[in-house]
Symmetry: D2
Subunit: 337 residues, 4 copies
């Protein structure tokens, strides 16, 4: 249960309220978002809580979620969360397109890709600097050098950038070079990482874990929200099933389900979701039609030479062609791209 405090509530009043509640055996935690304070209660029923606080006039409302996630739920916030990343609005009626290579390989290649996706209409440049790989012997990314290249190329083409963080050590570094921080599927339940990302200012794109239920995914978002970072983007990227013709099974129903349960913007990554470039266009079209607020797509100028995920990367010309089809679909949905 969450108590929403009135805007001008004094710290003294909050303290009194917390004291009172803790005397009743009800645990509380305070958090703040956009200058407003909230109290989360644990260990008491709604009826009890309402009884306890009825004489406090600093309370604006009390929110109860029928789900285990609270701050991520539509009960807490009815309107879709919207925010700006540089000039790009996330969660608005314009559908957001993030595109770029699996990994930052070198400055030249990234620049060529960035220029191409930008001119085709992409909003955000993606590229991995730290790569979580199944094998310790595979290419692990250019790390800090990759971050620098990404940031520099992003500035050159005037696009905000997104890249993945794979441990707590490098959060600060990644946060200083990248506009949005991505949490990969394998780290979706790395709770320490999530908690620390709750304390940075950068928006976080949270990929759904390979075998995570939608509820666990929203609980992972809750970890970030509960620490005070409200700028979380959910990203469906396929779940693991028995099917072999695709790398993962893209669970597009997760888009309307998560959008119904939560106010957080929902993106889709059809590149990892299918693992084959030729299915990226139809599944991008489908993602938009299912209600996605954005897409993350892998593009490479020479997919056959890419250091990772070449099989699922689109050539820039295919990407451009896809963009023009996607724009038409967006219009029928009363959105733009």
């Amino acid at each position: 249960m969450i108590i929403v405090l009135k805007e001008k509530t004094l710290s003294k009043q909050v303290k009194d309220l917390v004291n009172l509640l803790s005397q009743t055996g009800c645990q509380t935690s305070i958090f703040q978002e956009n200058g407003r304070r909230y109290l989360r209660l644990n260990g008491c029923t709604i009826c009890e809580a309402e009884e306890y606080v009825k004489d406090f006039n600093c309370i604006e409302s009390m929110v109860f979620s029928p789900y285990p996630f609270e701050m991520a739920s539509r009960s807490f916030k009815k309107k879709k969360t919207e925010f700006l990343v540089k000039k790009v609005r996330i969660g608005g009626s314009k559908i957001v397109m993030a595109a770029g290579p699996c990994a930052v390989e070198d400055r030249e290649t990234l620049f060529r890709i960035a220029r191409d996706v930008k001119s085709a209409g992409a909003d955000i440049l993606r590229g991995g600097a730290y790569k979580p790989r199944s094998s310790p012997y595979s290419f692990q990314g250019l790390e800090k050098e990759g971050l620098k290249i990404l940031s520099e190329v992003g500035s050159l083409v005037d696009m905000p950038v997104i890249t993945e963080v794979i441990d707590q050590y490098s959060i600060e570094t990644v946060a200083s070079y990248s506009d949005i921080i991505q949490v990969g599927a394998r780290n979706m339940q790395n709770f320490r990482l999530l908690k620390e990302l709750g304390q940075v200012r950068n928006p976080v794109l949270l990929k759904r874990g390979m075998s995570a239920t939608i509820e666990e995914w929203l609980m992972a978002a809750e970890y970030i929200l509960a620490e005070g970072n409200g700028k979380v983007i959910l990203c469906e990227r396929g779940i693991r099933t028995f099917e072999k013709y695709t790398r993962n099974t893209l669970d597009l129903s997760a888009v309307p389900v998560a959008s119904g349960l939560s106010h957080l913007p929902v993106f889709v990554d059809p590149s990892h979701g299918t693992g084959r470039w030729k299915y990226v266009k139809p599944m991008s079209m489908a993602s938009l039609a299912a209600g996605a607020d954005g897409l993350v797509v892998e593009v490479h100028v020479t997919p056959e030479k890419a250091l990772c995920d070449g099989e699922q990367s689109l050539l820039p010309e295919k990407f451009a062609e896809m963009m023009s089809s996607l724009k038409k679909v967006a219009l029928t949905l009363d959105r733009t791209l």
Copy 2:
């Protein structure tokens, strides 16, 4: 490997060819589709077969499929399979909409639903007469009585009808009342049923099994095709995974994958795929955008009283509203609905 025989090949020539091949240890089976004859070979390599038959001038072409399915593959037939069910064209540029209740309950209810979905633009009327149910104690359908009602109401509203067959005994009866015969997910690998459906004239809508790979699904279609019935419609209806917020996980990637591998039309059933009526519209939109050739949707006038699947049935007014959105999406895809 399949040998396509020239149109005017004499039976004598076919016989000679079969004899020759069997002497080499190569097994053959003959089948016929649209008046043309084919020979399927087993147990010899392409090179051997080419050598054996090189002097026969009744051979038009030889087809080799890189997949275990042959007649269902694009190697065998490059163009999408198209056919008419009464006046409704399946597999053409017009996307086909089948709608109706989970089960035929009574004449009045079915007629009201039929009239409503017809006026909203549906092409085909669906309704179950034989219901495969997990529990022996649940409503099992009106059986033959249901078939009669379905057929009669279909005539009244001038729509072809589709219903499920659940065993071999009733194939003949179902075939005489229903324009299209549906094979449910639980029967996708009921191979005897498939073989017998290969010998009827009605088109067959083949639902994907709950845990069937796309390859197994196409092999199930092969069973029907190999017996001479080329009018098979594939229908994705969700696979079983760990996710709970939806009844099944609708695998929309199966649409472009199956359409790439096979010439058979691909439909989607978003009602079973999601199990919740409120996700039917977004997933129907997504199905079209992913390239589906048709949809099968459950509609009921009083879902809360439906004898089965009420939770996933749309009210007629919701269905009509969905149809107008779907028509707009179809147009951006250069198709109609």
Copy 3:
């Protein structure tokens, strides 16, 4: 809810009871097992039913199951179901071993295998005559000819036999040649087949479907029980998951779970469960330790030439060696083999 009638209840009394109950809106169905009659009620609460029938003195007890299956549940029958197949006792303290080839290939081969498994201590001879195969072009079994060979060889070595039935048409034939009738994983929800098997006298071994929950499996058994055939053996044979090193994922927890929920004997098929002969011994050992009442194992004299499933078939000498290890494990469990 099930009403257990006293042994000497007259038909007239049953009729009166049914009439009374149907007047109250409560649906009833009568079934008989081992000469005793039962009434299953649908559509009334326990309290109502108890009220209605309180004046009838032909009622021995009323059974309510907290699960959707009733006759298959431990609430209905506390003691493990036991029965004889020729001289072999199923469900007793002796663990039962069924062994033999995937398919009956010819008389000689089957006889050699039968003699070998018999002398190693197997109780029942298995062999497929009708084979459900993913591909219409694969070997489909010797059919009736195979049944005859199986039955004949079984007599020669004095072992009861088990084989699979794959459609309703052949139930009668299979029932006349085979002591136990097997329902394969793909047919676990072929409800018509189950209903008809409820009317034969042969015991039925019901394999768990590839993606069936334990509850669905018990409901499938319920279909057979509800028609009057109480001799059902449950058989776990692996479920479909993402893991590749094994053909299926053998879910051994299903053994204690099903044994806890149901009185039916539970067997395990480690051959299909793993798909590799070298894992058959450890998983057979584990099956016993988990509480299995029997095993079904594939054995072949020349696995590399077997017409199906050679990869998962044990050589007779490996089988014999496994048997001696299994016997030791059985003893520690206070059972024999």
Copy 4:
């Protein structure tokens, strides 16, 4: 490919070899285990490598793995890995039993549990101090305080202890209090954590990820081995499937499969694997019979009051009873417990 260097190889010789190999474009990395040095090669074929190094007499052997894991494979080390944790031998013929509560709750409770499991024959005391929980609002463990209690109680009852590490920050602390360090299922692909654990001296128990293939699990072990820590224990704890009667699906086939592919000891956690205390005994029995080298079992004096996982915790008396049954099974396997 791995080059095993002779025991007395001089650093100079190693340097020359590395230089030569790198001139040919072949990447090398050196690692050391038990005082012996190895070279891992990347980017050249076996033939090339053999040609390059043929004149070097410091080479003892060259090892090629047919799998993506190399150091974890049986090709690299034929014999099962054995090591001591205090006086407990892991990987030997004695099966190792780790037992204790899900979480360390307080000194008294832990001491009572420890004394009980010790007297029933357990070898290692388990207890969580850092708990990864789906919800940010659930009990997260006593953290450092919990470590102290665990270590102290371990000393009192003279048992080595095991606890989970959930991030890199706390590795050093955990390593100083706990004899064995556990990596939980959710962190199985937290590659940074694995790399750092490759540099500690403590053995690492690596749980299989919820949706990890056996190959990915062994690759995760490879991350630790490749950094120089050879004391890795694999632990199967159930994978995620559609089945609901158990919390996870314990994949016992993973025991013989992993034991065949790798020389690392394989443990099983039947408590998480089933999620219900009453299935812990049968699945423990089955684990031993399948060839497990050890078990990790949750035990609590008051399961109904446990701060986590009470449903799957055994009472000490049930644990003791289970131990005596397990001992008998161990003997039939020519092992002890």
